[in-house]
């Protein structure tokens, strides 16, 4: 028996799951094949808003290899309405959301009919033979027009395009002052409107689902982030007995919130498979994915901020319009509401009001996308801090420092009522400035301006925080969310001393198998390789709330630790019996129970064998080292950091080049620095992509014109600078490991850093904002707007 002495936690281990994920020699859903498997293809609406007057499937039914052609009318009695788990207000308006359109289509890409055939080729051939008659209805695309009087309606039955209005007011909540008074008395008042363009999650593995209706349970494999929630929602939506449904998320290739969904495709696959009594597979194409999987962001943000001349911020008013798209999906209405708690960011803002109106349009539904509400808020506040600094003639970092929560002021309860447990904004900022060479770059910027260099330099700042580790169940309850925020785990020590960890988190690229193994190896004092992490199958992992909102480590791993502690306590009783001492006389370290003050010890892995044999257990002790635990966090975690970006703007072409990018993140204690680094790099790429590259564009008919990766520009390494990443470590005080989340930090922080840098580069040319993405044409037009 060996025991690990050098701690696993903190080691930059290569991820144990990478070989199979990178080579694809694994169970991606689309790799799964079953006896008698049928293939489904989906006909999607080419128009954004229309009445379906006729669907002629006769020719398609005769097509080679076709077993069934199914329309919405065929499923109308059983498909129910896709679930929305977040009714943000009591009077929220929610349309019926069929998986397969019945009478009308409300966005281009909505599923209209499906073909099931012996091969995928034959299914696609038959799609071409389906004839649908559409009677055009007025298309609603613009949020502001949508809520104007007399606007055409997406869902006439609702009588309005406004789904709900949600308000937080610090005066009413008692957490701060009256914002109207603050703004009225402001020595400086700045108002800006920012646009969060619509984005597409663009996960690498397209969505895929296999349903096997044979056998006692219906089994669904799905490329999903949320197998547990999906099982529950399928049961509730379709009236299936929950115990008759098994959901498996096998290896899943990315999600970014895009697979935090109960999808029409999953429901249709299940119903069609059940109808035919045979297993059915559906895998979307990239184009279908971009058009039909839920989109993200899409808000118009109006901010008004007041400050005293000395730079003290006195009030902030936020008015949002948030585009729901055509339907409310799983958490669509709540996404902008998550931002409500983040507009005040790291700053001490004495008066605050947030108002958000959720609006229907004839576009693909929006929902969670990496950061979900918090990137939007962070972008707006960090852009605003720069604008207010300019108005005040202050250095933007100085304005931030004047207003942020000081290190010694934690824990700090903010104007939006969250209590930040810890943080050290001074330390992160100081480190970032040094790595960045802040003063030298400011000097170079001044010199280039003075010389009229065609390539101007700008410095962008983002001192961000985020709330993650979703979430304390009672807080979710207070926000009318339909579920809790706990997580479940089991730890089982096998007879040979090997360990199975079952987690209710559902990794889709995050590296849970490696990180959880490191944590448990330390806790139980067993080798890293002796730990296996099981996840994503409601049969083996029967209980969980899955992975999103940077919650897995701060919530899911805490459940693992809690279960592991129970294993140790069970083993302690047996070890004491074996060593003929009292359990209280034993101390446990590095996998060994040692009698205090002696060198007499027994390894936990030896105890495991003794428990299995059960020949000589103390009275009343079960022969089991299995334990389960459920952890409900008491608070969110609040990662923070300072990101600095140097952007060169070619004033002759509008091209932007990121010259350097420094991120200093404080994610608390770190389990695996390599995984943290990977999350930060990926997050930065995704946040920079919003600033510079990505945008889902619809034409005036509501057709997505960025429906392929030729037009929807996901950047590659060639388009990004080398990142300089570093960390400060302020341990979270709300969990045992001192960890915070890291999955969303890079995305949240980087977008404003980049746009601030671009605006800073050309501000002296009369520019104070550039709409995202900051394309070369937009930058060039902003610079030359007046003179053209």
């Amino acid at each position: 028996m060996t025991s690990t002495v050098e701690p696993e936690v903190g080691r930059a281990r290569l991820r144990k799951e990478d070989a199979r994920l990178i080579t694809g020699r694994t169970r991606w859903t689309d790799n799964i094949t079953l006896p008698g498997l049928l293939h489904m293809a989906i006909l999607r609406s080419p128009v954004a808003h229309a009445r379906i007057t006729n669907i002629d499937t006769s020719e398609a039914r005769e097509s080679s290899g076709v077993l069934a052609v199914v329309t919405g009318a065929d499923l109308a009695d059983e498909q129910g309405s896709l679930p929305c788990a977040w009714p943000i207000t009591e009077d929220m308006k929610a349309p019926d959301a069929p998986s397969l359109a019945v009478d009308t289509v409300n966005f281009a890409g909505e599923a209209v009919a499906v073909v099931v055939a012996r091969s995928s080729y034959e299914a696609h051939d038959a799609l071409d033979a389906i004839d649908v008659d559409y009677e055009d209805l007025p298309v609603v695309l613009d949020m502001q027009e949508a809520i104007a009087d007399g606007a055409d309606l997406v869902h006439p039955g609702l009588g309005t395009n406004s789904s709900a209005t949600w308000i937080f007011d610090s005066g009413e909540a008692g957490s701060g002052g009256n914002v109207d008074e603050a703004l009225g008395q402001g020595e400086v008042v700045v108002e800006r409107t920012f646009r969060q363009q619509r984005l597409i999650p663009a996960f690498m593995e397209p969505r895929s689902v296999v349903v096997d209706p044979t056998g006692e349970q219906i089994t669904m494999w799905s490329a999903t982030q949320i197998p547990h929630i999906l099982r529950l929602m399928l049961a509730m939506t379709l009236g299936l007995p929950e115990h008759k449904v098994r959901v498996i998320a096998p290896d899943v290739g990315g999600g970014f919130g895009g697979k935090l969904q109960v999808t029409p495709e999953e429901v249709i696959s299940l119903l069609v498979a059940r109808k035919l009594g045979r297993p059915v597979k559906y895998t979307e194409s990239r184009s279908e994915s971009l058009q039909s999987a839920h989109h993200g962001r899409d808000q118009i943000q109006k901010l008004t901020m007041s400050a005293r001349r000395d730079g003290t911020i006195t009030g902030l008013k936020v008015d949002l319009l948030a585009d729901m798209g055509a339907y409310l999906r799983l958490v669509t209405p709540g996404v902008p509401i998550l931002g409500a708690f983040m507009f005040n960011a790291i700053y001490k803002i004495p008066a605050y009001r947030f108002t958000c109106t959720n609006v229907f349009t004839n576009k693909t539904p929006t929902d969670a996308y990496r950061g979900a509400g918090r990137p939007e808020a962070t972008f707006a506040i960090e852009r605003m801090m720069d604008e207010v600094a300019v108005e005040l003639g202050m250095e933007p970092l100085e304005l931030r420092e004047k207003n942020w929560i000081k290190h010694e002021e934690f824990p700090f309860t903010t104007v939006s009522t969250l209590t930040y447990d810890s943080g050290n904004y001074e330390a992160a900022t100081e480190k970032a400035k040094e790595l960045f060479g802040y003063d030298a770059l400011r000097a170079e910027q001044a010199e280039r301006r003075a010389q009229g260099d065609p390539v101007q330099l700008g410095i962008g700042i983002s001192t961000f925080t985020e709330m993650c580790g979703l979430a304390p169940s009672r807080v979710l309850g207070s926000l009318s969310y339909g579920a809790g925020g706990w997580e479940h785990a089991a730890v089982r020590m096998l007879p040979t001393g090997k360990v199975e960890v079952v987690t209710g988190s559902s990794p889709h690229g995050q590296g849970h198998e490696t990180a959880w193994s490191q944590i448990v190896a330390d806790q139980l004092g067993v080798p890293f390789d002796d730990v296996e992490v099981l996840h994503g199958d409601t049969q083996s992992s029967h209980k969980g709330l899955d992975t999103y909102g940077s919650r897995s480590l701060t919530v899911g791993a805490m459940a693992v630790l809690k279960a592991g502690a129970k294993v140790i306590e069970k083993a302690r009783t047996v070890a004491a019996h074996m060593m003929e001492c009292s359990p209280d006389d034993l101390e446990f370290a590095h996998g060994k129970f040692t009698v205090k003050g002696t060198d007499s010890s027994t390894g936990i892995q030896d105890v495991a064998l003794a428990v299995f044999a059960a020949h000589d257990l103390p009275d009343g002790v079960e022969p089991s080292l299995d334990s389960e635990a459920t952890f409900d966090p008491e608070n969110f975690s609040f990662p923070h950091g300072t990101h600095l970006c140097a952007a060169e703007v070619d004033t002759e072409t509008g091209a932007v080049r990121l010259r350097s990018y420094v991120s200093v993140d404080d994610v608390g204690a770190v389990v695996n620095p390599l995984i943290v680094e990977g999350q930060v790099h990926g997050g930065l790429a995704q946040g920079i992509a919003q600033a510079l590259f990505e945008e889902a564009v619809h034409d005036e008919s509501g057709t997505l014109t960025t429906g392929t990766l030729v037009d929807y520009l996901v950047p590659s390494a060639a388009d990004l600078p080398s990142f300089t990443t570093d960390r400060t470590e302020t341990r979270s005080t709300t969990n045992e490991l001192g960890v915070k989340g890291v999955g969303e930090a890079g995305t949240i922080a980087s977008t404003p850093a980049v746009v601030n840098a671009i605006v800073d580069a050309v501000r002296h040319l009369g520019v104070n904002d550039i709409e995202m993405p900051c394309t070369p044409m937009r930058v060039w037009q902003a610079i030359h707007g007046g003179a053209r």
Partner: protein
């Protein structure tokens, strides 16, 4: 998505390919490296009844000299063009433009002739081929014929080739000792050009003796910036005179407007990038 069904033939000579194409009828398509055709098939934007795959025809690969010309086989991959020593010596502009085509994977599969026959006006090889006064050798039922680049590109995705003809090779007059640069402007590395400029310049002493400038994505076909070329001849190879000549770059262009660039911005880019292309060429 996956393509509709089609017949597939992979002949081993040009003559066989021409016959196969004739036999397959008018709904057949020729498959080169597949980097443009396969996505079109997979998205079912086209459903040809037959594909004639040129990938097994050895005589269509490689670069050779023929007197004052280089002859580049149509099935030579971008990767091979980039690294070919004859291209580097006698037609450096082609190598520089090829460097910018898509990404390494595409350059390993995609072919020189395939790009030209596809005739996407945003493709990067058309303007250099036009600027260097290349000739396309095409084979059909009636034998081979040669079409100058100036007549080859007819419209968006349309060439002077008959659907029954195959582009066999491209003859490029040697431009030995010319300075060349291809200035490409796009938003992400693997994308098509928003605008690009290919410039080849012969410098005598310190003056520009000859200049050839081709514009990518400034019309339905590649465009020669003739006014720039004329303005450059006899001028000193200095930034000022080059900038002055480049100011003519948008003359005679008719670019489209899209999300990346409207007409005004494209024409501005053409002028700016032309100046940069020539400046970089002469400084090389």
């Amino acid at each position: 998505m996956i393509p509709a069904s089609f017949e597939y033939t992979a002949p081993s000579t040009v003559d066989e390919a021409v016959r196969a194409l004739a036999d397959a009828g008018e709904d057949a398509k020729v498959l080169g490296g597949g980097q443009s055709l396969l996505p079109v098939l997979r998205m079912r934007l086209a459903a040809p009844t037959a594909l004639i795959d040129l990938g097994k025809i050895d005589e269509m690969r490689g670069v050779r000299e023929d007197g004052d010309s280089l002859v580049i086989g149509a099935m030579t991959t971008h990767y091979d063009v980039q690294r070919d020593s004859l291209v580097a010596e006698h037609a450096a502009l082609l190598a520089r433009a090829t460097d910018t085509v898509a990404d390494p994977q595409v350059r390993h599969r995609g072919t020189f002739g395939g790009s030209i026959a596809h005739a996407d006006s945003a493709g990067d090889l058309l303007a250099p081929v036009l600027a260097l006064d290349a000739e396309m050798v095409v084979a059909g039922a009636n034998g081979r014929r040669t079409v100058p680049a100036s007549e080859f590109f007819v419209d968006y995705f349309t060439t002077a080739m008959d659907p029954s003809e195959i582009l066999v090779e491209v003859r490029v007059p040697k431009h030995s000792g010319w300075h060349a640069h291809y200035e490409k402007f796009n938003r992400v590395a693997q994308a098509w050009s928003i605008v690009a400029v290919g410039a080849a310049v012969r410098v005598e002493n310190t003056s520009i003796a000859e200049a050839k400038v081709g514009l990518t994505n400034m019309a339905a076909t590649p465009v020669r910036a003739r006014a720039v070329e004329e303005a450059l001849v006899g001028q000193p190879a200095t930034p000022d005179s080059i900038r002055a000549a480049a100011a003519h770059a948008a003359e005679g262009t008719s670019p489209t407007s899209d999300g990346n660039a409207d007409v005004e911005y494209r024409q501005h880019l053409a002028r700016t990038l032309t100046g940069r292309a020539i400046n970089t060429a002469v400084s090389a």
